[in-house]
Symmetry: C3
Subunit: 301 residues, 3 copies
C-alpha cells in the first residue's frame, strides 16, 4: 500500500487515518511505541525542513528508525537514474518517503519499489500527507469539515499543497472559495474534477472577503517558481493578509498555512486566537505517525 495522491483514498480511508491519528495523539502522551524493527528511508531530492523533520520525528515516536538521503550529497549527481536509486534504497529500508521536484516521480518510485512508498511532495503535483494534516487540523479546531466556508488564498497554480487540499475539502463537503491573483489561478481541470466527483461548491474570487469565512488557508508565493522575483514579490504583497482584514471576521475563524511563511501573514497575527498554523504544523507528527503505522501494518500482513 502506497500513499501517492489523495485521489487514491476514499472518504473512509481518510476517516480511518483520522481515527488512527487520535490514537497516536494518545500514544504521544503515554510514550507507547507500537512499532519495532522498521527502517524508514527519507529520500529528499529537494530541500525541506518541516516535512523531513516531522517524518523523522514521527518515525522515532512510533519506535521506528530513519535513514536520510539528501540528494545534494548523493550519487544522483553522478548520473544515476531515479529508478536505480529507488531500487537500491528499497533493498535497505522497509518503507520509502520521497520528495522530488518532478511530477510523477513518487508514482514511479512506487512502481519500482517492493516496499511501500509515501509521497512527500512531487513538484507542483501532490502532497497528500500535508492534506491529511490540513483536514485533521480543521476537524480538531471546528469539530467538522462538512458545510464550512473555506477560502484558499495565494498562488494556487504552483502551490502543490493546494490541489490536494481542494480535493480533500471537496470530499468532505466544504464550500470552497479560491482567491488567486490573475494568472495564478488553480487549473480549471482540477476544479471541474471535484465539482463532478463530489458535487462540490467551488467559487472563485480575485480578492479576499473574510466576513463569512470559517477557515482561511493562506499559501506562500513560491518565489523559486517565478522567473521574475520582482513580479513574485508584487503578487505576494497584494495577496498578503493584513491585520485590518481580521476586524469583521467570525469569532471562530481559523487561519492555516502550510509554512514556511514569509510576509504573506504579518507577525502580529501569530498572536491572534485565529492563528492555528503552528498547531497545524504540530499535527504533522501524529498524522504522519498514523500514516506510517497504517502502511507498516498493512505491509506486514
Amino acid at each position: 500500500m502506497d500513499l501517492i495522491s489523495i485521489r487514491d483514498l476514499t472518504k473512509e480511508d481518510v476517516e480511518a487515518y483520522f481515527k488512527k491519528t487520535a490514537e497516536m495523539e494518545k500514544n504521544l502522551a503515554s510514550g507507547k511505541k507500537p512499532v519495532s524493527n522498521i527502517v524508514v528511508a527519507n529520500l529528499f531530492f529537494e530541500p525541506s525542513t518541516r516535512t523531513s523533520l516531522s517524518f523523522q520525528t514521527a518515525a522515532k515516536r512510533l519506535g521506528a528508525d530513519s535513514v536520510v538521503y539528501n540528494a545534494s550529497t548523493g550519487s544522483t549527481q553522478k548520473g544515476e537514474t531515479l529508478k536505480d536509486t529507488i531500487r537500491i534504497i528499497d533493498g535497505y529500508a522497509d518503507l520509502i518517503v520521497i520528495r522530488h521536484p518532478l511530477e510523477g516521480s513518487a508514482r514511479l518510485a512506487a512502481d519500482v519499489a517492493v516496499h511501500p512508498v509515501i509521497n512527500a511532495g512531487d513538484g507542483g503535483n501532490q502532497h497528500p500527507t500535508q492534506t491529511l494534516i490540513d483536514l485533521y487540523t480543521i476537524l480538531k479546531c471546528k469539530g467538522k469539515i462538512d458545510g464550512l466556508a473555506v477560502q484558499l488564498v495565494g498562488d494556487l497554480k504552483h502551490a502543490r499543497a493546494m490541489r490536494s487540499l481542494l480535493y480533500g475539502l471537496a470530499m468532505f463537503g466544504a464550500d470552497v472559495t479560491l482567491v488567486a491573483p490573475k494568472g495564478l489561478e488553480m487549473e480549471k481541470s482540477v476544479i471541474d474534477e471535484v465539482r463532478e466527483r463530489f458535487g462540490a461548491k467551488v467559487s472563485e474570487r480575485s480578492s479576499l472577503d473574510l466576513k463569512s469565512c470559517d477557515v482561511l488557508y493562506v499559501c506562500r508565493v513560491q518565489k523559486e517558481r517565478f522567473s521574475d522575483p520582482y513580479e513574485a514579490e508584487k503578487v505576494q504583497k497584494e495577496f498578503s493578509l493584513h491585520e485590518e482584514d481580521l476586524k469583521d471576521v467570525k469569532k471562530d475563524l481559523i487561519i492555516l498555512h502550510p509554512l514556511p511563511k514569509i510576509d504573506e501573514i504579518p507577525e502580529s497575527v501569530d498572536r491572534s486566537p485565529h492563528a492555528k498554523y503552528f498547531e497545524q504544523a504540530k499535527y504533522g507528527v501524529p498524522v504522519r505517525m498514523a500514516i506510517l503505522y497504517s502502511i507498516i501494518k498493512e505491509a506486514q500482513k
Copy 2:
C-alpha cells in the same frame, strides 16, 4: 528550564551538573540508559562538528533520539524567521539545542519555545555547555579549581568560549591571567563584571609566562572573524604555543583547547602528558548527557 548563559547558573547549579556528570560517566560504563521517549532537536545554523556530534552522541547514550536541522539545507533560505522555525520545531521535539551566528538568538529561541532550549553557541557571545566541559575537565585533572593559576591565551575578543569560561573560572575562585594580542583583548566590561561579582583575581598580559601556570587554555584565532587573513595568520603565529615554552613549566600543568586547533599548538605537544584537550573533548559526552538529563527531568516534573 533553559541553559542559555553561564550567568543563569549559581555555583550550586554548576556543582549539581558536575555530580550528575560523574553519574553519567558510570552510566556510560554500565550502559544504563536513564531516558526514553524523548526527541532532541539539534538546530545548527552554523557548521559545527564536535558540538553537534557530541550532543547527538550524548542524546543516544542517554536513551533519547535526535533529529538534526542544518540551516544550509532548510527553509531559512526561503526567508522564514527564526521565531517561526523555533515554533515549528518546538511542536515536534521535547528539547531544542541551538547554535546560531547571532548573539541573543538562543535567548530568543528560549522565549518562543514551550520546551527547554540549550544554547550551543550564539555568535561571539555564550557557549555555556563548553564552559561546563572546561570546568569539569579541570576538576577531573586537578581535583579542584579554587586557587589554580589559569592562563587564557589567544583571541579573547572573538572566541565565544572564553567569555563564558572566564565567568565560570571566576565563580570557582581561580586566578586568571588573560594573554591576548593587542586589539584582541577580552572586553573590559566582562572582566569588570567577574571582579565585582566574585572578587575574582584577573590580570592581563601580552605574552605567555608559564612558570607558575596550572592550567593553560589556548584558543584558536578564528580566521573567519578577520577581514584580513594575513593579519589573522600573523597573530596566530605570535600567540602559538612552542615546544620550548614547556621546558620550565610545572610538572602537572595541563593544556586545554576547545578544538579544532590548527597551528596554535604544534603536533608534538599532543604526545606530551600536559596535553589534555582530547580528554576534554571526550568529557563533552558525559557533561552534555548530564545537562540533557537534568533539563529533561526538570521539564517532566
Copy 3:
C-alpha cells in the same frame, strides 16, 4: 581489530564473515537485534549514498546507533588535521567507519584511534567491505567462487573496488580476466601480487568475450577521475555492455556492478535474469551487519 584492507584478512577470516552474514540474514528476518549501547560514527569526507546509507541501516538493524559526519559541513574546512578529527570522534563513538579521498587515510585513522576503524573507501586504494559484499553475492548466486570464470570490466586503474575484488577473487581461486581500455589497465604490481601469493590465474584482454563467463563484473568509468570529460565518455561507451553481448552467454551468467551505474549497462538488462546488481546492493546490509557485529564483539572481549 580494524578492517582497513582485504589484505589484512585470511581466507578463514573471510569465511567467518560469510558465516556471520548468513546469521545476520536470519536476524533480519526475525527482527533479532544482537547489539546494544553502541554508537557507530560514520565519517564521510567524500559523498556517498549507498555506502553511507547501508552502513547506517546495518547499524540500526543490529541495534546500534549511528552519528554521521559529512566533511563538507564540518571543521576540516577550518584546517583541522585528520588525526585531530579522528582523536575527537574516537572519544565519542565505539567504532569509526571512514571514507576519505586520500589513500592511506583509513590506516592513519586506525593508528590514531583507540576504537576499531572500518575503511569504507580510501581514494583509489581499498574498499574491503565492498569486496566482501561482492564475494558474498557470488557465493549466494553460484554456490562457490573457486574455479569460476570472472571478468572484471571497465576502468580498472581508478576504480577502488576492483583492486580489493581481484585480491578477494584470487584468494578464493577464481579465474579472473581483466578487460580494460588502453591506459586504464589494473596496475601490474597488483596482478603480480595475487599471482604470486595465491597462484591465481589472471589474464588480460582489451575487449569483452562473454561466451564462457560465469560472473561479469562491470564498473563505472569514474568521470571525476578524468581531466577530459569527452575522453571519459568515449571510453565509457566503448566498454559498456550491450544487450546483444548477452546472446551467447551461459544461462547462469551473473552480472554485478558496485553501483551507481550510468550508461555502462543499458536499462533493458536490469530486467534480465542475469542482472544481480540490485541483489548485490541489498547484501550490503547483512554483510555490513556481520562486519560491525564481529568487530564490536571482538572489541568487547
